[in-house]
Symmetry: C2
Amino acid sequence: MTDTPLSPGSTIGILGGGQLGRMLAMAAAELGLNCHIYCDEENAPAYEVAAYHTVGAYDDEAALRAFAQSVDVATLEFENVPAAAMAMVSKDAPVFPPPFAVEVSQDRLAEKRFAQELGIGVAPYREVKSLEELEAAVETLGRPGLLKTRRLGYDGKGQVKITDETDLAEAHELVGGVDALYERFIDFRCEVSVVAVRGQDGEMRFYDPSENRHENQILAETRIPARVPDEIVSNATDIARRIVEALDYRGVLCVELFYGGERAPAPLIVNEIAPRVHNSGHWTLDACAVSQFENHIRAVVGWPLGPCTRHANAVMKNLIGDDVKQWLELAREGNAGLHLYGKRHIRPGRKMGHITWLSAMNGEC
Amino acid sequence: MTDTPLSPGSTIGILGGGQLGRMLAMAAAELGLNCHIYCDEENAPAYEVAAYHTVGAYDDEAALRAFAQSVDVATLEFENVPAAAMAMVSKDAPVFPPPFAVEVSQDRLAEKRFAQELGIGVAPYREVKSLEELEAAVETLGRPGLLKTRRLGYDGKGQVKITDETDLAEAHELVGGVDALYERFIDFRCEVSVVAVRGQDGEMRFYDPSENRHENQILAETRIPARVPDEIVSNATDIARRIVEALDYRGVLCVELFYGGERAPAPLIVNEIAPRVHNSGHWTLDACAVSQFENHIRAVVGWPLGPCTRHANAVMKNLIGDDVKQWLELAREGNAGLHLYGKRHIRPGRKMGHITWLSAMNGEC
């Protein structure tokens, strides 16, 4: 394990080469640290801003080990890195976050059980290993609801909505007939997420919870501060704290929560735990002295954490698919940070960039 | 010339690969733009964060032209790029800032004459082409003063201080016997600099003037706001405006001024014009929504300029030579942005990084 802080000039390995890896690599470069990106794509957004990159499959043992041997510490930028790949890398380099945290978040069932063991609310659910179990679960919990695969889900992938009209056999086939769970639909007021960071010395810091709005199951907009009661802000932060502690976590982690308001069974319910920097924390690039990306890098290399305080209110909007064609209009926006990910091809649903508008924290100042 | 804004995915060529090129390349990457760095060093700080780089001499015509043909627009990160190199590049790519501005700033005599033609104050000086002319100049202007080579000076290089004890023949030899000028020493209160930016459409914007403190003729600290009367702030900005307009400038330019207080012949005197992003503008990375680096990139690719407003007061300290060994203590500082340049070897006088402390603009808020 990394007991002493790594010096400037050290190399951080990053599994994954998307926009999160790109923004991590830039944060590392600001601190005089190099990055080595490992990714299975020929042209990944992170390559262009990293000192080194390897194009390799996540089951290519020789490539993974050579990568691990070339770095001083390793981390990841998406949570679906195969456990076997992480295990291979960890033979030659310390890996943060801890593999256990990644395993929990890769498996929706394990994630829910983990939260429940901590006494944190989750949406009512049943495990589904067959069509019969799906039928029984829907019978017990009622409709509407969501059938979700246990593994490999993000941005609405691996999910089917079950309404009154849905044919269950069809739905079961749609998710591929794999191990899944059925979750009753939660009528929440808004999604709130907390970006937390924990250093090698165990210190924890938290960015202010944000309010998130999704469109087509993809994050569309994040707003800071969240329009929820103060008590909810502190409860959300407390939930993040308990999760980070229980996972003996190192690095940045994001907890997505549903805020149901007074009517809900529990005011806050865990939707997802992401063991990485998170889209709902992109606003920290423009509104904080130290962003989630820099704080993740600091945690990974054993440096003291930076402050999570912010100097502005913020609204972050994702630029998805054709949205990015508006780049020239967006570049004209005053007091906004525009971030484009250098992706060569626009595809529907693809995150191409984001923009964060800043405003004064105290209107009266 | 660049009449229409270059699209994201375009490539900007940068002559020079130091920390300024590195920070320019990162700013470009944030906007989805690629950089190609051209530098004569084997390991330059900018290479690690740029999509492409060429190691080549500044008189290697073939390498320069191949570089120029690979980019959509070119710029520079240090003002001593040989005029011939710029001319070669401009055969195949538009170059900003305009070569005339670079030529003026490369020649201390041309720079002074240019300022004088605009009615802007300069320190009393005489051209010095021989020892005899030096003796006559010192006789006329008095001591103490500075003997400065006309070309290739920065960070105190190419300068010799002339005191009562100085042997003039020795001093003349020290600067290499080349064309020079003798300048009477100005007893100024502080140095103030203005970072200005002008877009392709002619729009001009200005960051708030900073107050600079030098040690051993190298910038040690920049403070925002400058502790000078409001009238001086607006006069300094006006001087920058006149210079930028007269040069028909495109991109970021910095004007260094001496503020002499009420006793001085003119309250503000131009010390230097730097046709590039400047060390005294590094604070904009942490205290502004859009930094000098991003605004230079925006100007070069023909995008609308970003705001030059700041959200905080700032004190920027350069980490020179061994200062950088304090990186761990500096990383512990709250509300500060730490920036390390990834340079592999520490040398006395070498700029290794900087740190910017932020504080609230209005103590009462």
